[in-house]
Structure formats: C-alpha cells, structure tokens
C-alpha cells in the first residue's frame, strides 16, 4: 500500500514536472472528459484497472499535445455499482462539469439508465467498454439513443458462437456455470444454442448470483452430471473461487472459459498448472503492431501485463473518444458523435495507441487527412448502431501462462453464423 502510494505520488510529481517543462506550448484551456465506473462494491476489482487505463489514455493524449491545443481533464466518478448513484454522477458530470463525452459504465444495469436519462437527452456521447446488453442495439434501432451510444465490446453473439464451436470440437458433454447478469445470461444462451447445433450436449446449466458466501452448491450440481468439461462464464473474482472449488472437488480439469476470465489474476488465484490446456475466447485483440505496442506500453506504465478484463477495449473506448474530440470542430456531444466514425475510417491512414500514435493522429487531423485508429484491440469499426464487430481470439493456458491460440476473423465468424443458420 505505502509503496503504491509513494509510486503514485512520484508519478504525479513527475507528471507535474513534465508539464512544467513542456508548458511552453501553453495549454491553459481544458476540455473535460467524464468517466463513470464501479470502483467500490462487487465490481470494484474489475472497475479499478479499467478506470486507470482510461486515465492513462488521457495522459498520453495530453502528452501528445492535447485536444485542439487544450489539455483534457479526466473526471472520474464511482458508481458503487448502484444505478441511482451512477445516474447522479453522470448527470453531475454533464450538467455541472459540462463534459461533452462520457466513458462507462461497466454493467448494463448502470449504463442503460445513464443513456436513457442523461446522455441521450442531453446529447452527450457515451462510450462503454463493457456493457453487453442487446438493449443498446434496440435503443439505437428505435432512434431513442440518438446515435450517442458506442461500445467497443463486440456483441456477445460472436463470442458465444465461437465458444460453442470450439467446445463442440473438443467435448461432447459439458456443464455450464454462468453469472446471472445480462453478460452471463446472453453469453450462456448464445453458447448453448451454438454448441447444441454442432452436436454437443449441455448436461447442466447453472446460474449463479454474485456476492455469495459459497458457490459449492452451484459447483456441485454442475459436477454431479459428470460432464467432460466445465464451461465457465464469470468475472475473475467469483470465477477463481468456482474454478478452485471445481478442481478441489475432483472435477475434470478441462475448461472452456469466457473472455472476462482471460486474466492473470485468475491464473494466479487458481494455479496455472491446473488450468493447463484450458481454452477460451476473447474479443478482437488480433496480434499486430498496434496490440503489441499497447501491451509493451502498458507493461512499462503499470508494471503488469494488461491481462485483465476490459483493459484493451476501454483503452480503445477512451482513445476513440479522445481522437473524435480532437477531430470535431467543437467540443459538443453531436460534433464528437459525428467524428467517431471519422477517426475510425477504414480508408484512412492507420494510427496506433500511445503518445507517438496520438501525435501522428493529431498531425493528420490537423492536415485534414482521414485516419483509421487501430487500437489496443485491433482495428475498430462501429456499425450504424454503435456496435463493433470484431474478430474473436481463441486463447489457451500453456506452460503456466496465457497464450494466444488463433484468431477467428470477422469473415470466419460470419461463416460460422451461416453454418448455424442452416
């Protein structure tokens, strides 16, 4: 704790020094960027690194010259995992701080009321990394969101289908344990439909609610059917507990894991040797210069691998928003909304994460050239509903570490969809 505080203090001091020396270009104006994430409560463990990542992206953008010559001020609020607190925080950021764009939240149960009662009516751009509910697409289709909502998380369908596909290639009978939130319910459903279509049998499908004293009853009922493997759709903290209990109680050490479990925390908590050979899916993150550059930068900045849920996609959420703010003629919601697709233009010159990438992007924007942000999770393109379709990564645990197995491209995902439709 103390070392961490000291490190933070040192970083702040250095940042202050840095801005002091380069202050010659006089950034005396500031543009606010709001963010609402759960920092305390049950989603605190995933919210904290996600919020940090966005702050870091803002710092990099400021180092690269800021937005329209102004420094971007990152205004972060805690939702405590409560909708009402989140909505209030968003309202405050929009009305009092005048943010033209807002990052967040994580759970759809908080992001949705913010969209319906704050950002959409006030015409403020909202970019979420992690809210997976199909309701956002519905609101966009009906025009109620006014096109102000974007998310960098590919819809759960692609992941569910790929998960079902790889599971059916490896196992005939599985049990599923999934978290009883929109994320888990959707993904579990997509998985099961796909898996059964390819001939697999789901023996037992068990929902679990977060924040419970023990998950042994859930583990037991999934285990009792004697499946070949466990399909686990969960967040790292509960997921680790469930995996530990599964292994302790003699369940087969064969796992198919959801994207949120692609986390070093899980490996450390469970013991990588027990997870050897586990397979899972995650979004985008194709390897390539942009992803590698990001991973190296992250490693240097945080002294940790970016293997935690939501890090890459929230970095991209922040980066796309910041670039759109830079490209937009004025710092207003509608202008930023209209420039989100401008900075992810497939025709444009590719720009990457990091200070250098942002500097290059700013130059191109200045020159009026089109740009295509290729981010920490690979190339991003938003469809008309603000959703992204991305390639799906298949990952595995090998030699005690997370490893990339292969990437299912968008075309391949569509081919899988086609197979299912028949």
């Amino acid at each position: 704790m103390t070392t961490r505080t000291l490190a933070l203090a040192a970083t702040v001091a250095m940042a202050a020094l840095a801005t002091g020396t380069t202050g010659a270009q006089a950034q005396d104006c500031t543009i606010p960027l709001g963010a609402v994430f759960p920092l305390t409560g049950s989603n605190g463990p995933i919210g904290e690194p996600i919020a940090e990542t966005a702050r870091w992206a803002v710092e990099q953008m400021n180092e690269a010259g800021g937005v329209q010559g102004c420094e971007v001020e990152y205004l972060l609020r805690d939702t405590q995992g409560q909708s009402a607190v989140g909505v209030d925080a968003a309202r405050n950021l929009v009305d009092v701080q005048g943010v033209p764009a807002l990052l967040g939240a994580i759970s759809s149960g908080v992001s949705l009321p913010i969209l319906t009662s704050v950002t959409a009516p006030s015409e403020v751009v909202q970019v979420s990394c992690c809210s997976s509910s199909p309701s956002f697409t519905e609101l966009a289709e009906s025009g109620e969101s006014g096109g102000f909502f974007f998310r960098t998380l590919p819809t759960s369908r692609a992941q569910g289908v790929v998960l079902g596909n790889i599971a059916s290639q490896n196992y005939d009978e599985v049990s599923v344990i999934y978290i009883n939130t929109d994320y888990g319910v959707n993904l579990a459903q997509e998985f099961q439909d796909a898996y059964e279509a390819w001939g697999g049998t789901v023996l037992e499908s068990v929902a679990y609610n977060q924040e419970q004293a023990s998950y042994r009853p859930e583990v037991n009922s999934a285990l009792a059917a004697e499946p070949d493997a466990l399909v686990l759709i969960a967040f790292p903290v509960d997921g680790s507990t469930i995996l530990r209990e599964w292994i302790s109680f003699g369940g087969p050490q064969e796992f198919v894991l959801s994207n949120a479990l692609r986390s070093d925390d899980v490996l450390e908590a469970v013991g990588a040797q027990f997870l050897d050979g586990a397979i899972g899916v995650d979004n985008a993150q194709v390897s390539g210069p942009s992803v590698e550059a990001f991973n190296a930068d992250y490693q240097a900045a945080f002294d940790a691998d970016p293997n935690r849920p939501g890090i890459h996609i929230n970095y991209d959420a922040a980066a796309v928003t910041l670039l759109a703010m830079a490209a937009a003629p004025e710092a207003t919601g509608p202008a930023i909304r209209d420039h989100i697709r401008v900075v992810t233009n497939p025709e444009g010159e590719e720009v990457y994460p990091g200070v250098d990438g942002f500097s290059r992007a700013l130059e191109l924007i200045e020159a009026g050239e089109p740009i295509r942000y290729v981010g920490a999770s690979g190339p991003i393109s938003f469809d008309e509903n603000g959703d992204v379709a991305g390639p799906v990564l298949i990952w595995t645990v090998a030699d005690g570490a997370l490893a990339e197995d292969r990437v299912i491209t968008v075309d391949e995902v569509n081919a899988l969809f086609g197979e299912l439709a028949q």
Partner: protein, 318 residues
C-alpha cells in the same frame, strides 16, 4: 449556471423520491414502531408495476399496456399495497428484529424474482423504452428536469399533507399509542394488529409510489436499481433526519442523498486524477464518517419528534 440548475433539479427529484419512501417508512417505524427492513422490495414492486402499466407493448413479455403516467402511479400504489397486505398478514405478529429480517428476506426474494422471472420483468436486461411523462414537450433536458421536479414537489406536499392529516386524526393517535405502550392500547379495546397492518400497507404503498416516480424520472428499470443497499440508505435518511417527524424524513432524504452524491464530486475535485481510483474508497469512508458523527452528536436526528404523546393529545384539544 444553467447546468447547476439542471443538475440541482435532478438531484432534488431523486432526493424527493427517496423522501416519499422515507415518509412511508416513518409511518411504519416513527409512528407505529414497525421495523420494516424490506423497503427496497416495495420500492421495486411499485417501479415494476408502473413500468408494466405504462411501458410499450413487447411481444415476448407479459404487460406493456401503454397507459398514461397517472394510471401507472395508481398501478404502483395498488400493487405495492396488495403485496404489503400479503406480507403483512404473514409477518405482523413478529416483533423488532424478527420482523426486520423477515421483511429483508422478502425484499431480497422480490429482487430475485425481478432478476429471474424474465417473462414479466425481462430479467437482467431490464425494461427499456419507458417514455418519461411529457418528455417530448420539452426541448431541453433542463425543461424536463424542472417539470419533473415540480411534479415531485407537488407529490411530496400531497403525501406530506395527507400523512399529517391522518396522523392527527384519531387513527394516528392510536398508532402512537401502540408504539408507546401496546398493552395499554389493547386494554383500551383497540384492535392493535389491524392498526399495525393498516400502517404497514399505507407505508409500503408510499414506497411503491416512490418507486414509480423513480422509474418515471429515469425511463428504465432493472433489478440492479433495487439492491439491498437502498433499504439502508432510506433507513439512514429517516434516522438521521429524525424519526417520528415527516419534515425530518424529507430533510433526511435530501441531506443523506446529498452526502452520498456530493462526496463523489468532492473527492474528484480534491484528489488528483492519479489518486481518484483509490479515492473512491475514501468517498464511502467519508459517507460512513459523516453518518457516524452526525448520530454521535445528534442521536435523535436532525429534527426529532417534537411532541410527546401526551402533548400531542393537548395539541388536538386546542
């Protein structure tokens, strides 16, 4: 400047929503001595009843009657009252903590039903497209916020006035008699369990009404709006404001909700961005500290009950 007005009107709207629920709780605890720890359950029933009555028709769901706002409010009142009646009949013979834990369990069960009974509540996804009343009549969110705040002020005054009226009626005096000395009330021939049940039902339907107003201002409902913490928040509003006094209940709602939300603002203004992530914990620590200190220095709340039972009797004689 307009931003402040807009935010403040939104803040007060939510505070008054909680204020109405707190007055409902005050009727139960402050005036009757019923330890209802299931506030959020009735808040949720009201919210869902409202959403189902006014919401758009959805082919895969029960409900979605697209009825006007006012009918939605009535629906919330009726459904929460019916639920309270059922719960009340099962639990009114329990005392203090036993009643508390039972009602708490019922509230949790209600939330679980909202989460799992997908054909009625859409489960985790929540219900979207719940139009906010007269939203289209306003060009800016500010206009709507002010309108809704005005609505809330009127609703709060109506509830306050009605409660004052019934509390100063013979019925209200019996309630306080029960709270002070149940056996004396029984010996006076009062049907104590019936009065208790009535107070419980009226109080719960006010919580349901508050739930409807909450959903009306947000335009969306999901089980995550009704976490158990809301019950604690509303109780804190009552105890800190001053149990047994409806003005205290409203003031408590505004103060506690203000502390709860403005502490986030404060933390994000005071701390440099690099510390804000850790600062989130200090926000909740600050909330806890303010709560504890206020109770230490004003153990009876900000505005306690002024009148004792006997002087209340004198009040009515004048």
């Amino acid at each position: 400047m307009m931003g402040y007005v807009s935010y403040l009107s939104f803040f007060l709207t939510l505070a008054l929503v909680y204020g109405i629920a707190t007055m409902g709780l005050n009727l139960q605890w402050g005036f009757t001595g019923l330890f209802n720890a299931g506030v959020v359950g009735f808040f949720a029933i009201g919210g869902y009843a409202y959403a189902i009555v006014i919401g758009p028709d959805r082919p895969d769901l029960v409900g979605g009657f697209e009825l006007p706002f006012v009918i939605g409010l009535l629906g919330a009142l009726v459904f929460s009252a019916v639920a309270a009646l059922i719960v009340g009949l099962a639990t009114m013979r329990l005392r203090s903590h036993y009643l508390a834990i039972s009602t708490f369990g019922i509230a949790l069960t209600i939330q679980l039903v909202a989460l799992n009974f997908e054909s009625l509540t859409a489960g985790n996804l929540g219900l979207i497209g719940l139009g906010r009343p007269l939203e289209d009549a306003f060009d800016t969110p500010l206009g709507f916020n002010l309108f809704y705040l005005a609505l809330m002020v009127v609703a709060t005054l109506v509830v306050y006035g009605a409660l004052q009226l019934i509390l100063h009626s013979p019925w209200g005096r019996v309630l306080r008699a029960i709270r002070e000395d149940e056996e004396a009330a029984i010996s006076l021939g009062k049907n104590v369990s019936r009065f208790r049940l009535e107070a419980f039902v009226i109080g719960c339907s006010l919580m349901g009404l508050a739930g409807a107003f909450y959903v009306g201002s947000i335009g969306y409902i999901s089980p995550f709006d009704f976490l158990p913490i809301v019950t604690f928040q509303i109780w804190t509003m009552l105890i800190l404001g001053g149990s047994g006094n409806n003005r205290g209940a409203i003031l408590g709602a505004i103060v506690v909700w203000g502390v709860w939300t403005s502490s986030g603002w404060l933390i994000s203004t005071v701390l440099p961005p690099a510390w804000q992530v850790r600062g989130a914990a200090s926000q909740v620590i600050l909330i806890g500290l303010i709560l504890v200190l206020t109770l230490l220095f004003r153990p009876r709340g900000l505005i306690g009950e002024r009148v004792t039972v006997s002087s209340g009797a004198r009040l009515d004689n004048r």
